[in-house]
């Protein structure tokens, strides 16, 4: 079933074309890696899919309904967003930040309920950060902050999660654990779309790759069908040697 659809999306800033006629479908259980060089339009595409910006032409549909006709809370119940981690101005506790994931369901007028507290604890436990519950978010490392934001998206209970470069700034261990988590969420039926600058991550964990180049969607398919040395050269202007062994693919700079 198609949960999220983009139909011929175009977006410009002045005369500069950021996205040009991009169409895609995201189905239940998709674990999609969005690849593209800096400035390819990845962030803009994600913002359009979240309804944070309005396209100059085309439309985004959630479960077949145009996003522009939906209320913000209705969109938030369907699609969650994990931004790149940043430090807020006030030292809110981790539990407080994660608890905000319940806002689309309970609204702004309600005090935290038992259900909210329970779902926060479940998400923190699942991500192995329950011990951070009362710590100020501002005092966490980048990897811990990223996991807190993912816990908030899980509490939001949306069936699609869009992540903006989730592994940026994480150490090797945290990167692998995060990719495994995304794989597991997709296996549970949640649709994942995450932008990345690491093609090897797309090969290792995604079941589908979208490639943006100069605002156009130039490839959409299984990772091993899409990500190869020719794509590396086209996207990043680098020559790499491609090695395929035991079903795995590696790239070595020439």
């Amino acid at each position: 079933m198609k949960r999220l659809q983009a139909r011929q999306l175009s977006y410009r800033i002045g005369d500069r074309v950021i996205l040009d006629n991009v169409s895609l479908d995201i189905a239940a259980g998709d674990n999609i890696a969005l690849l593209g060089a800096n400035g390819a339009g990845k962030s803009t595409l994600m913002r359009l899919l979240l309804g944070l910006q309005t396209p100059h032409s085309g439309e985004v549909l959630i479960d077949g309904q145009p996003i522009r006709s939906m209320k913000r809370r209705a969109v938030a119940r369907q699609v969650a967003y994990v931004p790149q981690s940043h430090v807020p101005s006030f030292p809110f506790s981790v539990a407080h930040i994660v608890g905000q994931g319940r806002l689309p369901t309970v609204g702004l007028g309600h005090a935290p309920s038992c259900d909210e507290i329970t779902s926060v604890q479940q998400a923190l436990t699942e991500l192995g950060i329950l011990h951070l519950s009362d710590r100020p978010y501002t005092e966490l490392s980048g990897g811990e902050r990223q996991r807190v934001l993912i816990a908030r998206a899980m509490v939001q209970r949306a069936n699609t999660i869009i992540l903006d470069e989730p592994v940026t700034g994480l150490d090797y261990g945290h990167q692998l654990r995060l990719l495994a988590l995304l794989k597991r969420l997709a296996a549970e039926g949640i649709s994942i779309l995450s932008s990345t600058h690491r093609p090897e991550h797309a090969l290792a964990s995604a079941n589908r790759v979208l490639v943006l180049h100069e605002g156009r969607l130039i490839a959409d398919g299984a990772p091993h069908d899409v990500v190869d040395s020719a794509l590396m050269a086209r996207l990043y202007q680098v020559a790499v040697e491609q090695i395929d062994t035991d079903g795995h693919r590696f790239f070595i700079p020439c």
Binding site: G51, R72, A76, V79, P83, P88, S89, F90, F92, L103
Partner: protein, 339 residues
């Protein structure tokens, strides 16, 4: 955390506010003992008896003379504090104070116009309130000249409005009669509760109290706005509508406080930080606690203003002096997380 732990700072501060109010009603040039005060209250509600002459004296002193001033102090202190806490959350900046968008300079200009025009105190208060609202409208109008105004544009609009109305105030001061009107304007700008007009309090007080209560209930919305706009929107929060509503409500509160007591500085910056030390940054508890602490602080400051010298010291001088010292003392604690 258990509910008793969550809400005990609020209950304690409410208790402290009641006790400070009783002290403020009892203390002054004519001191009233706690025993006599409680007997007077009991007599008022029919539970006790006291000589009629004594009762009339205490009634005149407590109810007619001190009570309006005490109510005004609590409302102004609570209003400025809760506005400061809300602005800091809405603008994601712990150094923001309620005058950010130009409301205070607008009010000051309006009051100066009222004084030059020989208007009665109630009219001066109302003109000050209206020009405060106009100043913020000018700032917001400048920000909205651009598509989808960001926080930065709102702040820039506020800076322009502040500069515009400060210069208009200077023109008004330049044109004022230096013997009669200019000292009145300067005294008004220093802030004071000595001339709280009972009629103005009856008109402004209930609206101010309702607005403060309403703002105290918006904690979750301000928590959500403390995130980035994209995060708040992706959590289903209509950012622009809520930010706009909060700015209107906060501006109204500030304008009403200034129209009652003139310019009383530092409370809106200091008290939210003190409250954050006690209950953390969550606005659900921060806003009501800021309101209580603000009321206590201004009652205490007003007590100092009217009792340390033969003549009354303008309230703004006391709040700025003690506020600045207190802010330095708590700086090493409050900077945690934002410096």
């Amino acid at each position: 955390m258990s509910p008793s732990k969550l809400y005990s700072p609020l209950l304690l501060s409410l208790l402290a506010l009641i006790m400070t109010t009783v002290c403020a009603l009892s203390l002054g040039r004519y001191q009233i003992s706690i025993h006599e005060f409680s007997t007077f209250i009991a007599t008022m509600v029919g539970l006790s008896d006291m000589p009629a002459q004594r009762y009339d004296l205490l009634h005149s002193l407590i109810i007619e003379s001190r009570l309006p001033r005490v109510i005004a102090a609590v409302l102004v202190g609570a209003g400025l504090s809760v506005s400061g806490a809300a602005y800091q959350g809405v603008f994601r900046n712990p150094l923001v104070s309620p005058g950010l968008l130009g409301v205070l300079s607008g009010c000051a200009f309006g009051a100066a116009l009222g004084i030059i025009g020989h208007l009665p105190p109630l009219a001066v208060a109302l003109v000050a309130c209206v020009t405060g609202l106009i100043a913020v409208a000018v700032g917001l109008g400048i920000a909205h000249m651009f598509e989808s105004p960001s926080i930065l544009l709102l702040v820039l609009g506020g800076i322009v409005a502040n500069a515009l109305f400060t210069s208009l105030l200077s023109i008004a001061q330049y044109m004022a009669d230096p013997v009669d009107q200019l000292p009145s304007i300067v005294y008004w700008l220093l802030g004071s509760l000595s001339a709280v007009d009972v009629q103005a309090l009856w008109i402004i007080g209930p609206t101010l109290a309702m607005a403060i209560l309403l703002l105290c209930l918006t904690g979750r919305a301000i928590d959500a706005l403390s995130l980035s706009d994209d995060e708040a929107l992706s959590l289903g929060v209509p950012v622009e509508k809520i930010r706009g509503g909060l700015i209107v409500l906060t501006t109204l509160i500030c304008a009403l406080t200034v129209s009652l007591a003139g310019m009383v500085g530092w409370i809106g910056l200091l008290i939210p930080h003190l409250a954050r030390l006690l209950v953390g940054p969550g606005n659900t508890r921060l806003l009501p606690l800021s309101a209580c602490l603000g009321g206590i602080f201004l009652l205490a400051a007003d007590g100092v203003a009217r009792s340390v010298s033969a003549g009354e010291i303008p309230l703004g001088i006391i709040t700025e002096l003690f506020g600045a010292i207190a802010f330095v003392l708590v700086l090493h604690r409050v900077r945690k997380g934002w410096l």
